[in-house]
Symmetry: C2
Subunit: 452 residues, 2 copies
């Protein structure tokens, strides 16, 4: 797979002048790292060759009539021509001895018997030639450190989450979201119809990839359950999965989406659990959990809540209880430290949730969080900030970032409730990779994912 | 209560020069409508008198040594002095024949027997004088059209949600959030210790208030269940409630928060259900549901999903199914209309979720949404947008706003997945009061709240 994810030379067959086309988007992603500009886009570090028999050059790059006219060796061929032309292009690629192929084009097994035949044809050829192929009917792949070989709008920040998806559109939206929220990815892989390489192959690949610390998967259907189980068993990294097509409505939707059958969710679910995979029900959790699991080992079920708003502490405590999260008792020595600090309000709660009262400035947050995290049996904290007139969201965020450094093994989840006057603090936390939420429910669920 | 929510003259006893104090924040809220500037802040429309025996004037307003020195009639007295002084100040207010009192000061029943005694004292006096009192130990109240009589950081947008809360800090954060998300409020009432007027009284008040279309309540404990039931039974407006202290951790947190006992949630829950109250588990849902319920009547369980991303359609369909939401079958005439429009992609799904394919421009969204909502038995739609390079989030948002006007009784929930390049579209939807979400889970739950 190395030639697909770290190629030195790439040929794009189906390079297009039409700015709205897929074949144009891929050129931009190769040259600039994105169709839309962001600070995370990186140009492909190798050399790009365009193939288009009807153009001399596009965006300053020379066009070749066929891949066979390119003199240089080609590591990766990306194909984005109408489906009916793909089999002969694949033959050309094999003749050219490319090291890997991505077929972006749609119009294969997802469209019916005729498309299935085309797909079988290319599969037969690449199998015989022993060339790895991604797709067809996919968005492509992104290696955030090396290449954006896709028609996604842009590249996400670099980081440690690997994402394998049976929906390319999902990847597009997640990239946009990740840019805003500073979620870092190592590789994004849109598997499409998985004619040759499938989800299991990419799990095996990411299991060995040094930039990937956790693996997220959006899965609709598996062709080979045994292969999947073997790949997961060998993988020592945390895997988080969202399975589409759990219910009748979802299964029906999959039939029209990819033409595959979703199978029984019960069977999938049982297998996932047995394999130690973290199962989620919604999209955001997929990446949130992966981010947390890539950073922290699983922790003991003994957490603390610090809050400057009593009611929000109550609601968060209720949600913890409902999720089976245990609120540790504050030890006499912790209370002593808090009392001795001279920073607490006379009416502070002296219990967990630790209510540090509405007039808390950041020094009180610092003292409280430090005292609580220094209590040995407390393994994590939720820090709640409601917006009072004296509240300083950015200073509070800085306190959290500093204490994260002091207690690197104890996750801190921030719950900064508010909007206009709170967002600068939230943004600061996002930049420093502290999970931050607006409402208790998600903060509690995030912490839940980390508990043994 | 009119004199509290629509006073013509207000006296603030405990006006302070100290910029970080509660007694200073209230002055700013009266004069400017907020401590922090926003476009929603409105100055109090009546006349403000400050009482502070140690100052000549604050922020340009003359200070009086006592309320008894003010010659004008006083409708509302706001008290923000240390608890031990409150009983004598209340006596002055009664002597002055004020029409209503808000006691902001803390240090009463929430602190123990001594505070309880002080509270009983003021309660006895105001009851005898038949003067309504809010508090003590509260944030105050906001009538978004008339007065900000609180120490909240600012005023939320005007609108139709009434909010009664046993946590003042919660109100502060929600105001900040509402400014960002354009959630409109009629009245915000922080009840504090509810010595005299309690949650039930405010339900009765909001039930008759012409600006309030739905009522939200954050409740920790009720002193008088029968009174509450009577108030709710008489109220014809939708009520949404979040009960703090459902679980052991939550109950314990309440004891330190307000000193009250939370009682059995089972009993509360059964009563709420019987009374037709919408019960929520998290804070955001409180206002989201209230906003939806203030705008729409409950709808039939027959909805449609429109999406430009197959996988997101699958996940959303799964979540609908799990919540018992029915996806209606697209009728032959709807499909005929879609086909005849000439705007659909050849591979569009022809089923519900209606997958209009990743290259959908806004004209295709418009055609699809219009056709689907014109099908009589479809009562609402979730519109999903994933971010492809050709996607235009603002144009899609405009389509949704226009079709909301065409089908005013059919709720449209927007699910715009993304971040940086999507937010302008989301912001447009927020301005036009279309509920918009980033991930499927919340969109589905929002729709669920509206289904009969």
């Amino acid at each position: 797979m190395k030639q697909i994810f770290e190629p030195r030379t790439v040929a794009l067959i189906g390079a297009s002048r039409d700015e709205l086309s897929v074949g144009h988007g891929i050129i931009k992603n190769l040259i600039y790292g994105g169709v839309f500009k962001t600070q995370y886009n990186i140009p492909f570090k190798g050399k790009t060759y365009l193939v288009n028999p009807n153009a001399k050059s596009i965006l300053g790059l020379k066009c070749y009539p066929s891949i066979l006219n390119i003199k240089s060796r080609i590591d990766l061929a990306i194909i984005a021509v109408p489906a009916s032309f793909v089999p002969s292009i694949v033959k050309d690629c094999i003749k050219k001895k490319v090291k890997g192929i991505i077929v972006i084009s749609a119009g294969f097994s997802e469209t019916g018997p005729k498309g299935r035949k085309l797909q079988e044809q290319i599969l037969k050829d690449v199998t015989k030639a022993n060339i790895p192929l991604i797709g067809p009917n996919c968005l492509g792949i992104i290696n955030t450190k090396h290449i954006n070989a896709s028609f996604a709008p842009s590249t996400p920040p670099q980081g440690h989450i690997g994402f394998i998806t049976q929906s390319g559109a999902l990847a597009d939206s997640i990239i946009d979201w990740a840019i805003e929220k500073n979620y870092g990815f190592s590789k994004i892989i849109s598997v499409g119809n998985s004619a040759s390489k499938d989800v299991s192959d990419f799990i095996s690949y990411l299991a060995k990839d040094k930039d990937t610390k956790s693996i997220t998967i959006y899965l609709e259907a598996l062709n080979n359950g045994k292969k999947f189980m073997q790949a997961v068993k060998k993988c020592k990294k945390p895997i988080v999965i969202l399975k589409g097509g759990k219910t009748d409505f979802g299964k029906e939707a999959i039939t029209t989406h990819t033409g595959t059958l979703a199978g029984s969710y019960k069977v999938y679910n049982a297998a996932f659990k047995q394999l130690g995979i973290t199962i989620v029900e919604d999209i955001e959790s997929l990446f949130l959990y992966a981010k947390l699991l890539s950073e922290f080992k699983k922790i003991k079920n003994n957490i603390a809540i610090i809050t400057n708003g009593g009611g929000c502490g109550v609601v968060t405590a209720d949600l913890c209880s409902a999720e089976g999260i245990n609120l540790a008792k504050l030890s006499p020595s912790t209370l002593q430290k808090l009392d001795a600090s001279g920073k607490m309000h006379p009416a502070y709660s002296r219990s967990n949730p630790l209510d540090i009262i509405g007039d808390a400035l950041s020094i009180r947050y610092k003292t409280a969080l430090d005292c609580v995290l220094s209590q040995k049996n407390i393994s994590a904290a939720i820090v709640i900030q409601t917006l009072q007139t004296m509240t300083d969201p950015v200073e509070n965020a800085k306190v959290i970032v500093k204490l994260k450094k002091k207690y690197p093994k104890k996750p801190i989840i921030a719950l900064f409730m508010g909007g206009k006057f709170t967002k600068a603090g939230k943004h600061y936390l996002e930049i420093y990779n502290i999970p931050v939420f607006e409402f208790p429910n998600k903060a509690v669920k995030a912490l839940k994912a980390l508990i043994k």
